[in-house]
Amino acid sequence: MRLIWWLATVVVVSLLGIVLSQNRALDPVQNLSLTVSAPAASGLRDAARPVDDLFQGITDRGDIVRENRDLREQIEELQQALAERQDAEQRAAELEEALGFKQGRPEDQLLAANVVAEDTSGLKRMIAIDRGLNDGVDEGMVILSRGGNLVGTVSRAYEDFAWVRLITDPDSAVNAQVVPGPSPAQGAATGGQVTPSPAPSPAPSPGVASPAPTPAPTPAPEANAAVRGVAEGDLRRGLLLDLLPPDSTLAEGSLVTTSGLGGNYPRALLIGSVEAVEQRPQSPFTRATLKAAVNLSALDTVLVLISFRPARLTEQ
């Protein structure tokens, strides 16, 4: 009987806490707890890095892992540069068609932040950073890696800290596009990974002399158009690119960037590359598994893109 009363009390108090938390009434408490625990957590994270190396392999493998991490960062930076270049080429082609269009993205202003904690529940993919409302960070802001690739968005901002929802979180959805043009994995020989199906040609009307067959016009702009989808977090596969047109053909290694649609993310931030394509006959959409450009499990420092105001914040 005593246990039942205890359980009832715990349930009531917990539910009250959950409701208050959802209404943001307990934000000062959570900010205070992070303020107190962050130095210890940061110190422990630093101290645990050798444990990380040890845990991943045997003694000497730590150096290899570190070197590998550095190389991955370099690859990440190069991929970002390549994605930007490919996107710039595409943009140039578009601008040639639409003279007068002004690209309205100001110089990026970035704020460096340290990762102080990670959510280990397994049901979410979140990290805590040591920047908050007092530093100009707000919910919805975009978080980048040191190499400038997409990491996630601020999901909850306290005064001095913020929780960041990683792109692999099941609640994360980013409007994305597969960058047209040669991918690093395929090389220039493969070219055009994106092959939209050509529009059906109209049948000739009876009685009308059809002109001599001419070579089909080169569908340059269309063939070079980006295939758009939504990059979603997934507990099983990490990162998925869903809602792709059913007739889209993707090559493994194709780069995927933000499309800028919806206004919540700037255009041309590298998300990752296509790892595997899943054609589902029963589904109206094609889906692909992505390999994130950033090693999200080894983030120490991230950048908050404070110059970009997501649509959600701009509307307020």
Binding site: V11, V13, R49, D119, L123
Partner: protein
């Protein structure tokens, strides 16, 4: 005094959980030291202390993570009931019941956490969450139980020895 010790230990374990444990990922999940701590403390030191320590550990965990405050206290509550049930079956060792409570408590914890997350509007894919997170967590937490259980058992043995004197102490395992 014992509750202050439990509070400090719970806070330390909660910080360890978000700082060091992400590096120790097995089967795609990190061991939940707070859950292991709560279960070990309750089995070794009794339901009376567990009834205080478990919710405190839960709140400590929530303060260190992005969960709404109260989620872990709620999700850890079954640990006390499971420990009480485990005590009904007399055994020479406390280790085996602790492992059993950790494993079953992990299952209950996962299910309640998913329910709270879903109720607060977050995406929870049941099959993926159970197969990728909850079930591996039961195994991983059980494997990591000695890491937390042994210090608590040792501390409790010293306390019992000081209080009761010549009482025979059982093996930690």
């Amino acid at each position: 005094m014992r509750y202050i010790l439990a509070l400090v230990a719970a806070a330390f374990v909660a910080i360890l959980n978000v700082s060091v444990m992400p590096y120790v990922e097995i089967l795609g999940v990190a061991p939940d030291l707070v859950l292991i701590f709560a279960a070990s403390w309750t089995v070794v030191r009794g339901d009376e202390e567990g009834a205080i320590v478990v919710p405190v550990a839960g709140f400590m965990r929530d303060l260190a993570t992005s969960d709404p405050l109260g989620t872990s206290a709620l999700a850890l509550a079954p640990v006390v009931l499971l420990a009480a049930a485990a005590r009904l079956r007399a055994m020479d060792t406390e280790f085996v019941p602790t492992v059993a409570v950790v494993a079953s408590g992990s299952l209950a914890y996962g299910i309640i956490s998913m329910t709270v997350l879903a109720a607060t509007g977050q995406t929870v894919l049941l099959s993926d969450s159970v197969s990728r997170v909850v079930l591996p967590a039961c195994l991983v937490n059980a494997v990591f139980t000695p890491l937390v259980y042994l210090p608590i058992h040792t501390l409790s043995a010293q306390r019992r020895s000081g209080a009761i004197g010549t009482r025979r102490l059982t093996s930690p395992l």
